[in-house]
Amino acid sequence: MRNIFLFIGRYFTFFIFLVFQVLALSFLFRYNKYHHAVGLGMTNELTGWMNSKYANVDNYFHLKQESDRIHRINDSLINLLQSNFLNPDTATKFVQDSIPYDTLGHRRRYLWRDAEVVSNSVNSERNYIQINRGSKQGVKDNMGVLNSDLSLVGIVVNTSDNFSQVMSLLHVKNNVNAIMKKSGNAGTISWDGKNPLFLTMTGVPKSDSVVRGDTVLTGTYSLSFPPLKMIGRVASIVKDNSSNFYTLRIQTAANFQNLQHVFVVENLQSVEQEKLDKETRKKIDELKKPAR
């Protein structure tokens, strides 16, 4: 305490000087319009700067909720896309509806659900992704799974009540129909089980002029996932002179190492298509019988 008094006594004049300066400046900033405005502007600038710094830090704590929200919104918007609907030829159907989309779901082909990845692996030969949606939420086998950029990730292979197991594209048994974006030639995507960054595509005829960087999309005939979604790009062409088909290394579009939010897409007409397919085979078989 004594030292404090000594300190104050030693610098007494200086403190008085500061007091008068503060007094004068407070007069200056309080009673002069220009100085008042400029002073307020400067303090605003300062507090604004500090607030923005604080918000920068604070934002990190809300990133999770924010990304969840964006994912939900994406889900609802993706469901509105025209490409989810398979419109019959309206020229032959004289029904006018005031609603642009058939809300009863008669014509809706793809229904999207958002989901979160709860476990994931990339370093096994058979990689599975587990997501937090199951049969209670309407997830069934053979639905396609796409990441938040809408690049293909895998196909649902098993479901429990609240979780589903997804066979990742990084699975040696995986066999996905794909096409080259430029030419539309179809091929098959598989994985050799070695590098999680690259897939293998076979079945593209050598008449197609494939170059490095060509885009590979999902095929149009799949029952599991919508057509023309990104799978990857051609990273290199494997030399194979004995075959008439290319063997292509495809760099995956989805980053399998940090999957967090995904979409599960349901093809609402797949049941009908499968039924038709089955019945046709049966019919043809029956037709063939009498001939034998």
Partner: protein, 177 residues
């Protein structure tokens, strides 16, 4: 005439001259604002305690501020030069001669060169601080510097004209007096 009375008269005189003459004449140039009122602080006697020096400086600035309707502007600058004044005097004068032999700073008591340096330093401090407060930014630094130099020059001119026109009679104090 006692020092107190003399300084009260000076105070009134300088403030009135500053406001009714120097601020009322048509502006010479946008860079030139004639200032002389703070000569009052420069002329205060040596023996005033530093605390009272600050109080007097504050009141001087504030009284001019109430004329110019800019509370705090001149007061801040005056407090600054009142605070710096003893340091400058200590540097310029050997402690045991003039300060004890004469009452207040003047060309005769300090000599022309030290007195000019004394005036110059305090003028520069006063003007630069006041300009800075007035604009609250250096703005274009060239403009700031030119205005500072021009204003300091005109103040310097005014102060030395005053010194020459009204030479103060400085009595040499001795122990016997």
């Amino acid at each position: 005439m006692s020092d107190l009375l003399k300084n009260i008269i000076r105070f009134t005189f300088f403030i009135l001259v500053q406001w009714f003459v120097l601020f009322k004449i048509p502006p010479l140039h946008r860079f030139i604002v004639p200032y002389i009122y703070y000569l009052f602080i420069l002329w205060l006697p040596f023996y005033i305690p530093r605390f009272w020096l600050l109080v007097i400086g504050f009141l001087t600035g504030l009284s001019l501020d109430y004329f110019t309707q800019t509370p705090g502007l001149h007061a801040a600058a005056c407090v600054l030069i009142a605070y710096i004044r003893p340091f400058i005097i200590n540097i310029l004068l050997p402690k045991d001669t003039s300060e004890f032999n004469y009452r207040e700073p003047s060309p005769r008591t300090m000599g022309w060169t030290p007195y000019a340096v004394y005036v110059l330093i305090l003028t520069l401090f006063h003007h630069s601080y006041m300009l800075l407060l007035e604009w609250l930014s250096f703005g274009d630094f060239i403009t700031f510097a030119v205005k500072l130099i021009a204003t300091t020059g005109i103040s310097f001119l005014l102060i030395f004209t005053t010194e020459l026109l009204f030479p103060r009679k400085m009595r040499y104090r001795t122990n016997t007096a």
